[in-house]
């Protein structure tokens, strides 16, 4: 329990650090949201100056940071200039979608990677293993960007899947089952892309972790005792290889988040990704900082989850 308390405090410090870092970048950046306005001859300089002072952009940086912190404590996370609302409701709506996408993708890719990795490691250097290894090596070299484009192309050519958005326009008129069906159809393409993108890394790690374990004496003795191979693989070897894999889980959350940023933009999935790109193009700094903070929160959340799993899986850590 104390362990998680410590981790929580650590997380708070981390988020604080991230926010300070973001503000430092703001300080170094030339121009802001109202810079564009200034170029517009229809808006008087006085108006621009007034708006700047209204949002506190004319204040020195520490003061702005302090004001922002106050707004964080109020649960607003700053103010978006382009949407003219506090940042939090904007982000929360989007974050739900990102969470739905990445969680589904994480779950699916692990569900596929574990059996494949175990299977491949048990047939080391046989043709199946070679095929899988070659396949993942090739997949590894195909960046998410290209995967997404090719998947989009297939979807457009065949018309099997909707190619963008979260729901169909008729969504509100559908019954409950129809809603689920519609969501699955829409999420399929981006999830597919993320799964294909993260699969090779997971597969390789699972395979090498298992190959190492399968070489150890206790597995050889288990096999010697005549315990069925499936039991040896999944009940003996897999738990023994769990520790590095759980750490990998924390890491894979980070890569999935980064990958989903691009996939969301390409497949017009209304997550944090498109919002972030929009905010960057509009120079909406508090929205950018908010999006970065949220993504950090996700990543830290993933790591905490990995810690929790590790705690449950490893009696040695529980003892401490």
């Amino acid at each position: 329990m104390r362990y998680f308390f410590r981790r929580l405090i650590h997380t708070m410090f981390l988020l604080l650090g991230v926010s300070v870092l973001s503000f430092l970048f703001v300080a170094l950046a030339p121009g802001d949201y109202f810079e564009e306005m200034r170029l517009n001859p229809q808006i008087s300089q006085a108006t621009v100056a007034a708006m700047r002072s209204k949002y506190g952009l004319d204040q020195p940086l520490p003061k702005r940071y302090f004001r922002w912190m106050q707004s964080v404590l109020r649960g607003e996370l700053g103010f978006s200039f382009s949407y003219d609302t506090p940042v939090r409701p904007l982000l929360v709506a989007r974050a739900k979608n990102t969470l739905l996408l990445t969680a589904t993708a994480a779950l699916l890719s692990w569900l596929v990677a574990i059996p494949l990795g175990v299977w491949s490691s048990s047939r080391k250097a046989k043709w199946l293993d070679r095929v899988l290894t070659l396949g993942t090596t090739t997949l590894l070299a195909i960046p998410d960007l290209m995967l997404a484009l090719v998947l989009l192309l297939i979807a457009l050519r065949t018309g099997w899947f909707p190619t963008g958005g979260l729901h169909d326009i008729r969504f509100s008129r559908l019954n409950a089952w129809g809603k689920v069906e519609d969501t699955v159809a829409h999420i399929f393409l981006p999830v597919m892309c993320l799964v294909l993108g993260s699969l090779p890394i997971l597969f390789r790690h699972i395979r090498s972790a298992l190959v190492e374990v399968l070489d150890s004496p206790f597995i050889r003795s288990a096999r010697g005792h005549g315990i069925p191979e499936g039991r040896v693989l999944f009940l003996y070897a897999l738990p023994a290889a769990a520790n590095p894999l759980i750490s990998l889980f924390g890491f894979s959350v980070g890569t999935l988040l980064s990958a989903s940023l691009l996939v969301e933009v390409l497949m017009s999935w209304p997550g944090i990704g498109p919002l972030l790109v929009e905010a960057i193009l509009a120079r909406d700094i508090y929205l950018v900082i908010g999006a970065v903070m949220f993504s950090t929160l996700f990543l830290v959340g993933g790591n905490l989850l990995a810690d929790l799993l590790l705690y449950l899986a490893d009696p040695r850590i529980r003892m401490e």
């Binding site: 650090g17 991230v18 590894l140 960046p143 988040l257 980064s258 993504s295 990543l299 830290v300």
Partner: protein, 345 residues
């Protein structure tokens, strides 16, 4: 030295790709900005050996692309067989400067005007995709390589400071590294990019990409290098040399840093493709190098329009180039990882 043919083969292919891209003005038949508005999305030119009368020619030739009569669709073209334009090597074309000083107009190959040779088709402005691919490689390949250099240099200095001196320096550097690693790195990259001006001239944009990508990624190499140095400096031969009165600089140079060289090499091979992708992603989303200067990222950006995506397969060519470069780098990485353990540097 490393005696592995595979390694040298991969290195040779990668190096020649970089060299060709570097001399794009010679290898590319056209300038990256020269347009042919009349024929947008022209398919790749077909190289013919046999003319309509059935005669065989040793020298391949191309025909002019003409809009297909009676169709309004973009990119529906037929060949105009009335005149053949043979492919010629070492021809005069668009003028360019070698190293910014010598004027030249030699190109490796080309066809006579008004015909144009499109090895990889043309884009929506009728610009030669092949030429743009080579010029775009200058931005994409070298920004990745140079950003990897920046990351490794930063990682080496900070990792060495942390690993070799330890104590307070170590704590501060490693807490900072943790901070950078705690962020999903593409988000971080975007965030840093967000605070820089949107529209900047190409050279500045290139340098900005190199610096931003390189600086965002310093933490992982720094941590790895710190780890290596931490164990390296504890070795007895380092203590022994200290006992002979060696300075910190001597110890670092002679005994400690050589331990990190192998790591630096593999990290370079790992980071370079990752950073190429970062540049491509940024430029793809319009946050990197802007038109008309090509990068593989902004060349792919036209695929965001569904009609381009479904109709013109040659717009995928930069993506193919990207995947091949990635394959090469991953193979390099693999071979290096196997070799580095065996090699005395």
């Amino acid at each position: 030295m490393i005696r592995d043919h595979k390694l040298w083969l991969i290195l040779a292919v990668l190096a020649s790709a970089h060299l060709i891209v570097l001399w794009a003005h010679f290898f590319a038949p056209y300038d990256f900005a020269s347009q042919e508005r009349a024929i947008p999305f022209a398919p790749p030119s077909r190289l013919h050996f046999v003319d309509p009368e059935g005669h065989f020619h040793m020298r391949p030739f191309v025909y002019l692309w003409e809009p297909r009569p009676g169709t309004e669709t973009l990119g529906a073209y037929v060949e105009d067989h009335s005149q053949a334009f043979p492919l010629r090597f070492f021809v005069r074309g668009a003028r360019y400067k070698i190293a910014g000083i010598f004027d030249s107009s030699w190109h490796l190959f080309g066809v006579e005007e008004p015909a144009r040779i499109y090895l990889a088709g043309s884009d929506d402005y009728g610009r030669d995709q092949f030429s743009r691919l080579l010029y775009g490689g200058q931005i994409s390949l070298f920004s990745g390589l140079m950003a990897a250099g920046v990351s490794l240099a930063l990682g080496l200095v900070l990792g060495a400071l942390a690993g070799f001196y330890g104590g307070l320096v170590d704590d501060v550097v490693m807490r900072c590294a943790e901070l950078f690693l705690a962020l999903p790195w593409l988000y971080l990259l975007f965030a840093v990019r967000a605070f820089l001006p949107l529209h900047i001239p190409p050279t500045q944009a290139f340098l900005m990409l190199v610096l931003v990508i390189g600086m965002v990624g310093w933490a992982r190499p720094a941590r790895l290098i710190r780890g290596v140095l931490l164990s390296a400096k504890e070795r007895n031969y380092v203590l022994a040399a200290r006992g002979f009165g060696a300075s910190d600089f001597y110890l670092l140079r002679r005994h400690v840093l050589p331990e990190a060289y192998g790591l630096l090499l593999t990290q370079a091979a790992l980071l370079a493709p990752q950073y190429i992708l970062a540049e491509v992603t940024l430029s793809f989303l319009g946050l990197g190098v802007g038109e008309p200067v090509p990068s593989w990222g902004n060349m792919l950006a036209s695929l965001q329009k569904y009609y381009v995506l479904t109709s013109y397969w040659w717009m995928f060519v930069p993506g193919l180039a990207l995947v091949s470069v990635f394959l090469l780098y991953y193979q390099l990485c693999k071979v290096l990882q196997e070799q580095v353990k065996l090699v005395r540097f």
